[in-house]
Assembly symmetry: C2
Homo-oligomer: 238 residues x 2
């Protein structure tokens, strides 16, 4: 799988299914192969100019933004199939992109992609859909930090991850591998690690979900969905 070209990957993408004609061949970046990053390495730094667009082939990425006081907020944890870095403005990046687990990324020069999408209908379409979806995910994240308490916020996030991983068969039976530390979870949820720990313990005690040794397991989807007010509509791909 890890010498698969971008074209092959896109063909297997839930959004990109329509991209099967050989009209898609002329773009050289489609022959690209993913680049590998070690866990905890940094791909692109906040404040530096970077004209690449990334597509996750495998692993957990981390898109984060730091504040002056040293605090940080994790904007998203892009997973397989997610597109990152569509800023469309030449200027310093607004966030840092790093690898949480070992990560493999397709890297496409922004200009190449931009001109290709203008000429190639399905590709442009796919990109627009992907950005729009990122927008929905961000919106729901904002709902979480703005208006949900620690319990339902955490529950909501863990359900979202399950749903997003499921699209690629990376979660099954309510179980999935999750390399996040409680510190990272805290920076996603806008909480402290200590409180994340309390919350996770509580969720476990209520037999809703457990998160141990790098694995998440949904124990009672019904209770969890009710607590989180989770509705997966916002994650729809097509």
């Amino acid at each position: 799988m890890h010498n698969q070209t971008l074209l092959q990957f896109i063909k297997s993408h839930p959004i990109g299914a329509s991209l099967t004609r050989d009209e898609s061949e002329p773009y050289s970046f489609l022959k690209l192969v993913a680049k590998e990053y070690k866990a905890h390495s940094i791909v692109s730094r906040q404040g530096e100019v970077d004209t690449r667009i990334f597509i996750v082939q495998s692993g957990w990425a981390c898109l984060q933004r730091g504040l002056q006081n040293g605090d940080r907020q994790i904007i998203d944890t892009p997973l397989r199939g997610d597109i990152i870095g569509v800023r469309a403005v030449d200027g310093p990046s607004i966030a840092t992109l790093s690898a949480i687990s070992d990560l493999s990324l397709f890297e496409i020069p922004r200009r190449a992609l931009a001109s290709a999408t203008l000429l190639h209908r399905p590709l442009g379409n796919m990109l627009t859909r992907a950005i729009a979806r990122q927008n929905s995910i961000l919106t729901e994240h904002l709902m979480n930090t703005g208006r949900r308490n620690a319990m339902s916020r955490t529950a909501h996030f863990l359900l979202e991850m399950e749903e997003r991983l499921s699209a690629y068969g990376l979660a099954s039976g309510g179980r999935y591998e999750c390399p996040l530390t409680q510190q990272e979870l805290a920076d996603i949820l806008g909480l402290t690690p200590v409180h994340v720990n309390r919350t996770l313990g509580e969720l476990r005690k209520l037999e809703m979900i457990s998160f141990k040794a790098g694995w998440v397991e949904v124990l009672s989807r019904k209770k969890l969905v009710a607590l989180a007010g989770f509705d997966k509509e916002y994650l729809r791909l097509m």
Copy 2:
């Protein structure tokens, strides 16, 4: 101004300046005229299917999403020039769009715009940039609710509004008209109205910013920018 066509409006748009050739003429929606909405009226409801895309000509819009428990989060307050509703998926809307002040909106069928952007380079470009900017705004909003306290959160938001309005000359000398109630401000910032009131009072007492009778006035930009950690880079249009 209020029988201006969409084409005329786009030509005056900071992003859309390049759209001056008459190749832009063939699309009938460019001849559209904005539709007027009264303050507090609802344009599009969360959960209902709506295939329009909106561009704000004037006024303050409100994009919000409700939770089961009755709480709501305001995602954004789109202003002149902002593009709303690019979901790119046929399905129920994720948020409600309403008018805070009197509002005038260009309304474009999603399909018409999508096909036009594929054929017309500058238009597609403009749209991509607009979405990417919405993304930056959302990201910064998430920073606010996730990692800033009430004071800097409020300061940050009020500075953002000033910057966004300035792009159209709708703010000058640090002063701008702002029709938001404290309740609405609370739903933007993820606070309670009571606490917004305290915070606003505090900011006033510290001679940083005042918000009274529908007008915001920056009293000390320096102190305010420091408190908020405000860097307008994320709002850059070109």
